[in-house]
């Protein structure tokens, strides 16, 4: 089997050039989906019978939670690929995925708290899912802190890749045990875990928002990776040519 495509994918130059082509289209799709999903969900979806308008925050909360967890697995996978095939690009992806994932986890927690106030009268409840989210945020913090603690970039990459993998092994155990802990201590008044079946009119905009968040995540990650590539390859000829070309265009425009 021919593996050259695989190694070509590991080249930062290849990544930069091929994403340049797709970037405008990707940005457009993301923007359209986000605007459409938000308008539909916030403006046109019917009001919830019990929660009124406050339920609409799920259009941010649910997609953010989805991507927060998916982002962790993506980060760990990128780290594993880096460890196994010693691929530079994959470490860059891992490094860039960490802050984005942490931000999404924080967004999920924040929207959850905002949602919780009108619904249960408290910003914070020790619900199983919220607690798991908080632990996920801690896992992200660990990877980020470890990454930046090393002076030697390679060592930082390898260390945080291993930590992300250890976290991946632990996430199912953590989620299961937090779930179990919650059923042990569950006070009778709070019930969040059983989601009521949603009306299709409410559910369809949610699907659009989830899709929009996937696109948004991809866009944010690609942009971050491109910046990181330019930073790391700043001494190579192709980046210098790129910079020269850009400055020439600027002068020409004037």
């Amino acid at each position: 089997m021919n593996w050259t495509w695989f190694y070509r994918m590991g080249s930062p130059l290849w990544f930069y050039q091929s994403t340049s082509r797709w970037l405008p289209l990707l940005s457009l799709v993301t923007l359209v989906l986000l605007v459409a999903g938000l308008a539909w969900g916030l403006g046109f979806a019917p009001e919830d019978a019990k929660q009124g308008n406050s339920f609409r925050i799920i259009y941010l909360h649910v997609p953010a939670s989805f991507l927060a967890l998916a982002g962790y697995f993506l980060m760990a996978t990128a780290g594993a690929i880096g460890l196994i095939w010693k691929m530079k690009l994959s470490y860059i992806v891992m490094k860039c995925a960490a802050p984005i994932g942490a931000a999404l986890t924080f967004l999920a927690l924040f929207t959850g708290a905002v949602w919780g106030k009108p619904t249960w009268g408290s910003y914070w409840v020790w619900d199983a899912r919220i607690t798991s989210m908080l632990i996920l945020l801690f896992l992200y913090f660990g990877v980020l802190a470890l990454q930046y603690a090393f002076h030697n970039q390679e060592a930082g990459n390898k260390a945080s890749a291993v930590l992300a993998l250890v976290g991946t092994v632990n996430i199912p155990i953590i989620y299961k045990s937090v779930d179990w802990w919650f059923t042990l201590h569950q006070p009778s008044t709070i019930k969040l875990t059983s989601a009521p079946s949603m009306h299709p009119d409410m559910f369809q905009p949610l699907l659009v928002m989830i899709l929009a968040f996937y696109f948004f995540y991809a866009l944010a990650l690609i942009l971050a990776v491109r910046v990181e590539i330019l930073k790391r390859e700043s001494k190579t000829t192709w980046v210098r040519e790129l910079v020269e070309q850009a400055s020439r265009q600027k002068i020409g425009a004037k």
Binding site: L83, I135, F138, L139, F141, G142, V143, A145, L146, A149, F150, N152, E154, A155, K158, A159, V162, L163, V166, G167, V169, N170, I173, I174, K176, S177, V178, W180, W181, L184
Partner: protein, 226 residues
């Protein structure tokens, strides 16, 4: 496997001997354990009924912190004096010496904590039915804590100020252990069968013994020497 057995016992015995020569340092986690137990009644309430409620969680949180406090030294001194590098270039498998070192760490922290726990139980008015489950849970749980802390210690070994970072990266991994550990005690206080959560702790220890030395070996090979 005589070669790998020698790796285990050589490092196991050496680390125990080192701990024995620095008996004062080995005692600090235990003293820490007892001191924090004194703070709880002072800070919250001396009332026996409330203390009883708090005891399982308190004991486990303290055990966790005490393990973390001592975990930094697992590999750092070996790293600084060059013996870790000698270990890395020895022909034998890396896993067995690591297993030996972590086991020695458990014997010098987890085991004394387990043995000292009845004293804390007394101070926190723990009902007498909970003593045996507490000790059984601590014996298994602190084993898991040692193995997980060792991963953190290996990841931060070459850093100047690794101890705080070590705490930060290992703490989230401790959540399942603290949940099931205190559940063992809670079950016994409530008069329920506590073998279930204890069995889960045992299972987690088995997984930790199988996987953690491999992870630690990989980490040490990857990032110790740069």
């Amino acid at each position: 496997m005589p070669e790998s057995n020698r790796g285990f016992s050589a490092y196991f015995r050496r680390d125990l001997l080192l701990a024995y020569r620095r008996r004062g340092e080995v005692a600090s986690p235990i003293i820490f354990f007892v001191m924090v137990a004194t703070l709880i009644p002072l800070g919250i309430t001396p009332e026996a009924d409330s203390l009883k409620e708090l005891a399982p969680g308190t004991i486990w949180v303290m055990a966790l912190l005490a393990t973390l406090l001592s975990a930094e030294g697992l590999f750092v001194s070996d790293y600084k004096d060059g013996s870790l590098e000698q270990l890395l270039i020895s022909p034998n498998m890396l896993v067995m010496p690591i297993f030996g070192k972590v086991t020695a760490h458990w014997i010098t922290t987890g085991l004394p904590l387990t043995l000292a726990s009845p004293l804390i139980g007394l101070m926190l008015s723990l009902p007498s039915v909970a003593y045996l489950p507490m000790m059984a849970g601590l014996a298994l749980g602190t084993g898991c804590l040692s193995f997980l802390a060792a991963i953190g210690a290996a990841l931060t070994v070459s850093l100047q100020k690794g101890s705080l970072l070590l705490t930060l990266i290992v703490m989230p991994l401790y959540m399942p252990i603290i949940i099931f550990g205190s559940a063992v005690m809670q079950y016994s206080i409530d008069g329920m069968a506590w073998s279930g959560p204890l069995a889960i702790l045992g299972a987690m220890l088995a997984v930790a013994i199988a996987l953690c030395p491999l992870a630690i070996a990989a980490v040490l090979r990857l990032i110790t020497i740069n």
